[in-house]
Amino acid sequence: MENKTSFLPREGEAQPSRCPDNSAFKQQRLPAWKPQLTIASVLSCFFLTGAFCLTVGVCLVLSANSVREIQIDYSDKCSDCSKLRENSSNWNKECHCSVNFTLKEDILGDVFMYYGLENFYQNHRRYVMSRSDAQLLGRNVNIQRSKCAPFSTYRNGTPMAPCGAIANSMFNDTIDLFYNRNSSVIQVPLLKTGNSWWTDKNVKFRNPESYNLSSAFAGTARPPYWQKPVYLLDEEDERNNGYVNDDFIVWMRVSAFATFRNLYRRVRRVRHFTQGLPAGNYTFRIAYNFPVTRFKGRKHVILSTVVWSGGRNPFLGIAYLVSGTAATLTGFVITGIHLKLRKKKTYFQKQ
């Protein structure tokens, strides 16, 4: 630093020479890999990529094809119910409807039951934010200061539990599946729990500490659209009640798209259903509570199996196949160019 203000002897005698170090870094002579992007050097790369993509693509397509799935749109099938729900003053009136369908072949393996919603923009920015994770952790927080507004307190100051728009708009249809076997109707045993992520259920969602749930939620009120308070979500199973209710947790994990499905139940593989769902006639009995006409939406119920590559969406496999083919074709094309050019020797040195 040769600060002009320093009138101290400038040339330090300690520095004998200002000659820079002759190190590879300072002289920019670091050994370097200089990738040469010419056809000759990348041919193998294209073919390898092509082969790999094709292989993966085939695997993916095969596995996606092995998935059995049945999807039933019931939003119009219970037209009277949907009309009833259009008027929000009827929220308290129960409405049931049944949907019959036939499985032509067995669905083997684990069968998952989803409810699907269409055109429900769960990913709306303000909707996504409208929750209080601290509250859901069972902490006694002042939800006034959270993002829950306007679904945080009632006018009289009673806080909502849980607060926020996500919780408020929770999907509240009840769907039961019946198997019509030889004119006898067997209710398919469905698992209510284990549908959510383990970490959600055990870490992220916690009920407030108290000797029982109803006292834990004392002083709070249910969200306006709910028919029952949060501590009555599952009266049968203490560990699936309150905030740690699986349906609630699954709903709170907001979906990425406006059309989505959420896991609702799993078929319990007992008795008739140890192999999955046998072929035959089935009936969904639905307690129709969730109005979809307000947002021009639709409701589905879906039965599906799951493989390692996810659901029945064949896109990934096809994409792999296409890109694999493309890469291989490109490989051939540039091989052609290469062979043509190689006749003119050292083409890249010519101008």
Binding site: P20, W33, K34, C53, F120, R294
Partner: protein, 1393 residues
């Protein structure tokens, strides 16, 4: 790392300069306190003593004391002030605006705190950096403020130790030798009996030669030290200014007498007192008002061309951003209006009301701006700064810029225009010291019309040249560089010197090389001190003929010849006296370079010896009649034995004290060895004997081998030193110089002491300097003047003015001298005319009166001084002229050729004569022998216009013929290189014509003309003209200009040019101070431009493009998602990762890429200058490149978004699980994209890229594992962990990366194979074996040459006719065809140097 500190220095210096302004305004506001006598902005300095006390109290309050504070901040104001300064940046303001915007509830996109994060991060980094720099300045200030000096204390009546900071205006300060001057003070006393103080200004401007300062007139007579108590005068001087070379004022004694003050009386803060035991001065400026502090100008902040382009592209990005936001806003409005009822997910505001779609859309616009803010890259600015720092660091550490002889390497003073080096189109070069070494060597002289060509001297110089080239290789090796570059440089050197090798090496050269080696070895300890005194400059071998004549001064044999000879002898005597006296050289002893040479015995008895000498001289002139040499010898011996014996005894003592040193001395003294020299200097021994006196004893003569201790000369300019050394070779030795006396040891005549009446220093306006002395013998006032022949010839007295019979002779001498001068100039020598004038006492008295008025005036003193000088320098008698050679620096022709091949136009702007300039231009291959030279030399503007249009017409006609011919030949000039249109014309223009040409009306045609010429030489150009030319080319042609120079006269040009390069040479540091880059040799320009310029430019452009790509890609991912979330401004990525993505995960690799990427190796770039044109024409950063990059970015973002979208479409994926693969594959895409673009991948790249990926995963995992509550948006919880176990995640990332990068990869591959750019082709050369590589490079070069030649060949014949046609029409001498042959032959002549 000096760089950031220098950067910082710049910043605070700017600040200081504003403070300084404040100070000066304070001063002017304090006028009311000043005495009524003073007017305007003067300052009064009075000592704080005695009866002044009261007034002092009043005045001194207003002046700053000597405490300096260069820090910008104090502890208290650091935060506000730093923030204030940082928000001067538009980018920071933009981000501040975003932060503020995010606090508006309706548009809030992120959490408030998160938006602040990047801004706070950037601000903190810079604040910490500023703070650290400021702290180091604070420490430095403290150290300086607490230095101790001796200040007179009123209480204790003596000088006491005091800290610098406590010194204030009006204090008396006493300094001893080697002490640093604490403040600007007027010198009142010096222990030197002549009232001189020597100072070294290295601390101020880097010049290492001693400067003399004088005690104020009237005080110098005092024998004893000045007593501050007695000091009863007041000093009035101008207000503080930053002009180092100006100081005006006067001392008013109590009796109202005024004595003028000049810069000669001012000791500047920061200089060091040398060679003077003690000085006392009164402080006039202190602290920040000192000239040194006011003069602090650090590196400039120029804005590079690339940066300007980047800014326009950023504006495009802003437009894009607005477009995207508008789309979002409109989309949201439409989406909302589709719903007749309020859906669940459109939740009302906290007040329970919903805004109508239009309003919601409006809000959404702002939300989008926050969300998509990353498009305007905050990190881009920071990254560019960092990359530039890194590039500068690498440039500074390039070993090839190291010049061992001066132990200097490149200095980058401007930090942000490194990439401009890659775009230079025009180079404006100074000649002296830039192309040449500025080692002035006396070559020839003409005295009284008789030429002495000094052939032996020429041989000697060849010998040196020889040696230099031999020395070069070991020097390079010593530095440790054994790269091919240095080898090739060595090779080049040899090529330059080839003509030499062919010359027979005589014994002389061998012995000389032996000297030089010895000499250098001995020189090393004080090599830094001695300016302009390498043996090549000091050892002049006298011309035999002249020496003979010279010796006749003492051995005038026959009376018959004397009548003619005497006049010539008079001329010769006066000539050498003028050489020795007419300068400002400081003399110091030989072995203690900083010891002033003082022949005490001589100067102590000036009057007495003067008397004796006069007697001697009178006899000498009488002797012409009596014609006996012996008496004169006796006389002279009677004068000087005293002094001479003393000298001898000094020398003997020295010999005894250090045998080794003596031996070295003996060896270095050419006269002492057995070199062939001795035989060539036959007169010398005689002379010595004469000087030694009448009794030649063996004892004396044995020591006499080196009879006169060689004084060391320290000159301000190398020309002066060369002339003084030349005079010494003829035994006319400048022995000492004091302000009022000059002692010259003249041949056998002993010492002559001249009373020095005035020195009229050199200035560029007069182009001459004069001394006025009183001749000791004739007692007449004599003016010796030396200067450029262009001005001197007009000042000579004409026949009409002279009424002596000499007038004819004088006319003849003038004529012949002019011939010789022209000849010298053609040989590329620098010419100086020497003239004298004898004044009568009456004339002198009259002039003196005038002069006195001029000196004491304050206001328009400069003009008055100039006028008085002009009055003096008239009616001169021409004595002769000198030709000084300035050798070309090594590697200059090669460098010029290489730069020209790189498509750079080179102009030479010099103040020298036309012939000299043209010759140097030939020597350095700026002009080739086969070029047509057009010379513009017009008296009037109209003629000039006419000539230019004629020339232009000729050239264009020529060009069309050329084209036709080339078509006939079937050779389509396909080469797109810059030389395609390169008509081989050279333009030479002189200063006076330049004046016309630069007029508005002619500018355009002139530029048109110069564009057609391959080289332009402007001679006799003033500094102002130089800068105007640069400005003209820069503004009219919109070209990138580089100005290179070494002297103060180049400063304006350097400052005006886009890139200023200073050569830290012999002429001080002004050019370096003004420059952006300072190099030590012109040849370094080659690597600086061709290699570093190319690299810096391509690196930075690629990095900038990459940054745009990166940001656009990333932002678009968010944008595409808006189509699936009702344009509601949701992001599918966690905000933390979103914001940090650019700051943490993808910022380091591009920076490394920007600093280290190497498209072509340095060796090949040096070999193939043609590659420079790619960066010069900014091929890498055309607008198309920007848009292609953006297109690619769009494509990649589409792939990156939609592959995961379709994969997860309709599944139960949640927002952040969907965002995670997108984000991850974006990371991979960006990093691999970089890898595709990387031309060379070192382990650093690998580490950084792998590190970035690892860091991303670690960070995501950590966030996923911990962040469940502290942030309301904790949905990222456990997502990464979940995905890491999901094969689909990997498959999605893999596929996305592949598809996204495939097109770019394919295009690069096809480009690499089918249409390789020159750069790519050059890159492949590296792969070849050395043998093949050499062949390929040769083939390439041949290709270029063939292209050129095809264009050249047909030109040669018609061009001459065309040129002739033009020139025939201009017989009015307005344009001269520079005749080819003399230059050609002379260029052969000059080649050896």
């Amino acid at each position: 790392m000096a760089d950031p500190i220098r950067w910082a220095r710049y910043r605070w210096q700017r600040l200081i300069s504003t403070e300084g302004r404040e100070c000066s305004s304070n001063n002017s506001s304090s006028k009311c306190y000043q005495s009524p006598k003073t007017t305007g902005k003067h300052r009064i300095v009075i000592p704080c003593l005695g009866h002044f006390k009261e007034e002092y109290e009043k005045v001194s309050k207003l002046y700053m004391n000597n405490k300096i504070r260069t820090t910008r901040y104090t502890l208290l104001n650091f935060l506000p002030r730093n923030l204030y300064e940082q928000f001067h940046r538009v980018a920071n303001l933009y981000f501040l605006f975003l932060v503020v915007l995010n606090w508006v509830p309706v548009v809030e996109a992120f959490q408030k705190e998160i938006t602040m994060l990047p801004l706070i991060g950037v601000l903190t980094i810079i604040a910490v950096k500023d703070g650290l720099e400021d702290y180091s300045r604070y420490k430095m200030d403290k150290q300086i403020n607490n230095l101790v000096t001796k200040v007179y204390s009123r209480k204790e009546k003596k000088y006491i130790d005091e800290c610098w900071k406590n010194v204030s205006v009006g204090d008396f300060v006493r300094l001893s030798r080697n002490e640093i001057i604490p403040a600007d003070m007027v010198l009142l006393y010096s222990s030197d009996p002549d009232g001189i103080c020597y100072i070294e200004t290295a601390g101020l401007d880097g010049e290492t030669n001693l400067k003399q300062r004088q005690v104020v007139r009237g005080y110098s007579e005092q024998v004893s030290e000045i007593d501050p108590e007695e000091f009863s005068s007041r000093i009035e001087c101008e207000s503080p200014s930053n002009d180092l070379s100006r100081f005006r004022g006067f001392v008013e004694h109590s009796n109202m007498d005024r004595v003028g003050l000049s810069k000669e009386n001012l000791l500047l803060r920061g200089c060091t007192v040398r060679n003077t035991e003690a000085v006392v001065g009164i402080v006039v400026y202190a602290g920040h008002e000192t000239k040194a502090m006011l003069n602090n100008s650090g590196p400039h902040y120029k804005r590079s061309k690339l940066e300007r382009k980047v800014n326009t592209d950023i504006l495009w990005c802003v437009l894009l951003l607005l477009l995207m936001c508008l789309t979002g806003a409109i989309g949201h409005g439409i989406w909302l209006s589709r719903y007749s009822e309020t859906p669940f997910f459109n939740i009302p505001g906290p007040d329970g009301k919903l805004s109508p779609p239009a309003l919601a859309g409006f809000y959404m616009f702002w939300t989008m701006i926050i969300l998509l803010q990353v498009l305007i890259p905050v990190s881009l600015y920071v990254s560019i700064e960092i990359v530039k720092l890194g590039q500068i660091y690498l440039i500074q550490n390039d070993i090839d810029f190291y010049h061992e002889k001066t132990d200097s390497t490149i200095q980058c003073r401007a930090l942000n225009i490194a990439e401009d080096l890659g775009q230079i189109q025009y180079i404006f070069s100074d000649k002296t010291g830039t192309l040449t070494e500025n080692k002035m060597v006396f070559r020839r002289c003409t005295i009284a019309g008789q030429e002495y060509c000094h052939e032996e001297n020429a041989k000697r110089l060849e010998a040196y040249q020889e040696m230099d080239s031999e020395d070069e290789d070991p020097a390079d090796c010593q530095c440790g560089s054994s790269t091919p570059t240095s080898k090739c440089q060595g090779h080049n050197n040899r090529a330059v010197c080839e003509p030499l090798n062919r010359k027979p090496l005589n014994q002389l050269s061998g012995s000389y090389s032996a000297f030089k080696r010895q000499d250098e070895a001995g020189d090393i300890p004080h090599s830094g001190h001695m300016a302009f005194s390498s043996p090549i400059e000091t050892d002049v071998v006298p011309d035999k003929q002249l020496l003979e004549k010279f010796s006749q001064i003492s051995y005038q044999q026959s009376e018959e010849t004397s009548s003619k000879l005497s006049l010539e002898t008079m001329y010769i005597t006066d000539f050498f006296l003028a050489l020795a006296i007419c300068n400002t050289v400081v003399v110091s002893g030989p072995n203690q370079p900083r010891q002033k040479m003082r022949l005490s015995s001589l100067s102590r008895m000036p009057i007495k010896s003067l008397e004796e000498i006069r007697q001697m001289f009178q006899r000498f002139s009488v002797r012409r009649l009596s014609s006996s040499p012996l008496p004169s010898v006796k006389e002279s011996s009677s004068v000087s034995p005293n002094s001479f014996v003393r000298k001898l005894s000094i020398f003997r003592m020295k010999l005894a004290s250090s045998n080794l040193d003596g031996a070295a001395q003996r060896v270095s003294e050419p006269q002492n060895t057995d070199s062939p020299e001795d035989s060539q200097v036959p007169g010398e021994l005689h002379l010595v004997n004469v000087a030694a006196g009448g009794e030649p004893s063996h004892a004396v003569s044995s020591v006499e081998l080196s009879p006169i201790p060689k004084p060391c000369y320290e000159a301000e300019s190398p020309d002066e030193a060369a002339l003084v050394h030349a005079a010494r070779a003829y035994k006319c030795v400048l022995q000492s110089r004091t302000p009022d006396r000059v002692t010259v040891d003249f041949a056998g005549l002993g010492s002559l002491t001249f009373q020095l009446l005035h020195i009229l220093p050199f200035d560029s306006l007069r182009k001459r300097m004069s001394v006025v002395v009183r001749h000791p013998v004739s007692n007449k006032v004599i003016v010796y003047t030396k200067g450029a022949d262009s001005v001197m010839m007009d000042l000579l007295r004409t026949a009409s003015e002279v009424h002596t019979n000499n007038s004819e002779i004088e006319e003849k001498i003038k004529e012949r001298t002019q011939q010789h001068l022209d000849d010298y100039a053609r040989r590329g020598l620098r010419t100086l005319c020497i003239a004298k004038k004898v004044m009568s006492d009456a004339e002198y008295a009259e002039w003196l009166n005038h002069r006195f008025v001029a000196e004491t005036s304050i206001d328009n003193r400069e003009d008055l001084l100039l006028e008085s000088a002009m009055r003096l320098e008239t009616k001169l008698t021409l004595l002769g002229a000198t030709g000084i050679e300035d050798r070309l620096q090594e590697g200059v022709p090669d460098t010029i050729q290489a730069l020209r091949k790189a498509g750079i136009k080179i102009w030479m702007l010099t103040g020298d004569k036309r012939e000299t300039a043209v010759n140097i231009a030939y020597a350095c291959k700026l002009l080739e022998p086969e070029d047509r030279i057009f010379t513009l030399k017009s008296q009037s503007r109209d003629a000039c216009a006419l000539v230019m249009s004629k020339i232009l017409e000729g050239i264009q006609k020529n060009a069309s013929i050329k084209e036709k011919n080339s078509e006939k030949l079937g050779n389509v000039s396909a080469s797109p290189s810059a030389q395609a249109r390169g008509f081989n014309a050279g333009l030479v223009i002189d200063g006076r014509t330049l004046e016309h040409v630069l007029h508005d009306s002619l500018q355009n045609i002139f530029l048109e003309l110069t564009e057609e010429c391959r080289a332009v030489v402007c001679c006799q150009a003033t500094p102002l003209q130089k800068s105007v030319l640069v400005k003209l080319v820069r503004s009219k042609l919109k070209a990138m200009t580089l100005a290179v120079g070494d002297g103060a006269n180049d400063v304006s040009m350097i400052q005006v040019a886009d890139t200023g390069v200073g050569i830290s040479g012999q002429e001080g540091m002004q050019a370096v101070m003004a420059s952006d880059f300072a190099i030590s040799q012109f040849r370094h320009l080659r690597k600086l431009l061709l290699v570093h310029g190319h690299w810096c430019y391509t690196r930075l452009t690629n990095m900038v493009l990459y940054f745009f790509y990166k940001n656009v890609t990333y932002v678009n991912l968010l944008f595409w998602y808006q189509f699936f979330c009702g344009f509601s401004g949701t992001s599918m990525t966690d905000y933390w990762i979103l914001i940090l993505f650019n700051l943490l995960f993808t910022s380091v690799p591009p920076i490394i890429y920007g600093v280290l990427d190497k498209d072509v190796s340095a060796e090949i770039l040096m070999e193939l200058p043609q590659l420079y044109t790619t960066s010069q024409k900014s091929v890498a950063y055309l607008p198309s490149a920007f848009w292609i990059t953006l297109l690619d970015a769009f494509y990649q973002s589409l792939v990156c978004f939609f592959v995961p979208y379709f994969t997860y479409c309709g599944s139960d994926i949640d927002i952040f699980s969907f965002g995670n693969p997108i984000n991850t594959s974006a990371l991979f895409i960006m990093l691999f994209h970089l890898l595709i673009e990387c031309k060379s991948v070192t382990w650093i790249h690998a580490v950084v890229i792998v590190g970035s990926i690892l860091f991303y995963f670690v960070f995501s995992l950590a966030v996923g594992a911990t962040c469940k509550t502290h942030n309301p948006r904790s949905d990222f919880y456990w997502i990464m962990e979940q995905h890491m176990t999901d094969p689909v995640f990997y498959l999605v990332c893999l596929l996305t990366t592949c598809i996204a990068l495939l097109p770019r990869y394919l295009i690069r591959v096809l480009q690499g194979t089918l249409f390789p750019s020159p750069v790519l082709r050059a890159k492949y050369l590296v792969r070849l074996s050395p043998e093949e590589q050499r062949k390929a490079i040769k083939r390439w070069k041949d290709e270029c040459n063939v292209n050129d030649r095809v264009e050249l060949q047909p030109t040669s014949v018609p061009s001459s006719s065309a040129a002739g046609a033009v020139l025939e029409e201009e017989t009015t001498d307005s344009a001269l065809p520079a005749s080819k042959t003399p230059f050609h032959s002379s260029s052969c002549c000059i080649a050896p140097f």
